[in-house]
């Protein structure tokens, strides 16, 4: 049975294991991608993503139906990321990251270099701005939705995205 997200969450609220498993399977990729854009390495991001789904399990009743379930999950993930923000998250891990992406063919390596440059640029931005870019450019959310998820004024989101986009474009322009 293909349930919509709201029905799934209602079932999770009633303690359905099956619904919870489906919810994880359906949204884990988006949530993890978002968190990977915010943190310096994948294991931290996955750790926070697991915490996000745990919070979804325990706080399913707090979903009020405003916005989509995915937005709600993103807002939980964002709170987790802000809560876990520590110095070591911001530390540059160039070598590790480069190693992660530098294997493969010549074309893949060029792409890996782009990705590395992009990640470095992302990591140099403040966390709020990074999150706005990940949501609006990476996940395709509108500015208004991103403002709601991150609980930041709409104007601020717009300026974050605008400035962030310029910076990333500049980096990609230089690279090309």
């Amino acid at each position: 049975m293909d349930w919509d997200d709201e029905s799934l969450l209602a079932a999770v609220r009633d303690g359905s294991e099956h619904a919870f498993n489906t919810l994880i399977d359906r949204h884990q990729q988006a949530v993890r991608t978002f968190l990977r854009g915010l943190t310096a390495n994948h294991s931290d991001a996955d750790d926070m993503a697991q915490e996000t789904f745990l919070a979804a399990w325990t706080q399913a009743k707090s979903f009020r139906g405003q916005g989509s379930v995915r937005s709600w999950l993103f807002s939980i993930a964002w709170r987790k990321a802000k809560g876990s923000q520590r110095g070591w998250f911001r530390a540059a891990r160039r070598d590790t990251v480069y190693h992660e992406f530098s294997s493969g063919t010549e074309a893949q390596r060029t792409s890996a270099e782009d990705l590395l440059a992009l990640r470095q640029a992302l990591m140099s931005l403040p966390m709020d701005q990074r999150a706005a870019i990940m949501l609006c450019l990476g996940s395709g959310y509108t500015h208004a939705e991103a403002a709601e998820i991150l609980d930041i004024p709409l104007g601020t989101i717009k300026s974050y995205v605008l400035r962030g986009r310029e910076k990333l474009r500049g980096i990609l322009g230089d690279e090309s």
Partner: protein
Amino acid sequence: MSDDKDQRIANLLRADAPPAHDPMFRIKVLERREHRQFQRRLFAMIAGAVVIILVSMSSISFARGSMETAGALVSKRHARKKSSYLHPPARPATTHYLKEKQMNLITTNKDARIAGLVYLLMILTSGIPYGIWRYLTEGDAAAILARIQSNQNLFSTAIVVGAIGFVFWLINGFFLYRLFKQYSEIAAGLMLTFVGAGATLALAGVARQVDALSLIRGVEGWPALSGDALQLQTLLAVRGYDHLFWVSAIFSGLWLIPLGWLVFRCGFLPKTLGVMLMLGSVMYLATLPGMVFNPGYASSFIASVIGITSGIPSVIGEMGTCLWLIIRGAGIKESRQAKPFKRFIAFVTDRCFNRCNVGAVYDRPFFWSHRMHR
């Protein structure tokens, strides 16, 4: 051009995306959830156990206080009686009363042997199923499921015998309490409290074992699981039991401390066994913190050190105590327990000639209770 760049940025931002279907991530979330639930339950259980211990200790001290107060308020008649008990004026039989007092402290061989036998049964019925359980639940989820499926009868037997073992633990606690309470009522009471808490927790864990068995066998009304889901649910049930077992290990360690102290103090068991029992408690007490803080604790260096320094004394202490109790009893020489006729003659002699006869005190007739004698 800018649209191209935007698209490229979006693609690069999504290049880090994990796979769309990642069952391992789901399993990690569920494992983490179980771990959290376990931590919450553990905290509640420890808090409950602390409350039980405090209540027991305060009840024991309150009861002792009440008895002492009652003793202080006895009438003059009773006080005189007490005085005559302590300093018998007419009788040259001071030793008679001293012996009588000592006699109350003497444990019979029968009591000691029963306690030892129950202890041995407890060790056998807990130890063997534990070994079987460890063998069946080694490895990852797939291996555990396969092993249990191919050894269902062994698994069921281990569950039932294990449950009997925990019941024997409770009974053993009671018999040891009865055996040792005269040497220290507080230590014996603490021991019984720890046994009660530990056995209850361990028996609660048996429910998780039955869950695992029901999942594998398939019970009417339960969803028929297979593949990943069955492996995961079985793993959770198995680990749920392990977690409860670790919690009960706290009490498996704690009860050895008063038991060791009582063995050390009672006089009819070697003091070395008491020391070994107290040392042995460390291994059990270290299990839960070790497992919680370090998932690879079982194979760690510190676990090996604790296993050698505490596990070996624990085995020697427990096996030694139960075998000693069975073989030697309370160390009373059988020759001192006179035949009924001889006891009757000694009693009549004592009554008629009003003089102390040690044999009469030790071997008073079965119908002559301590109260009547006094």
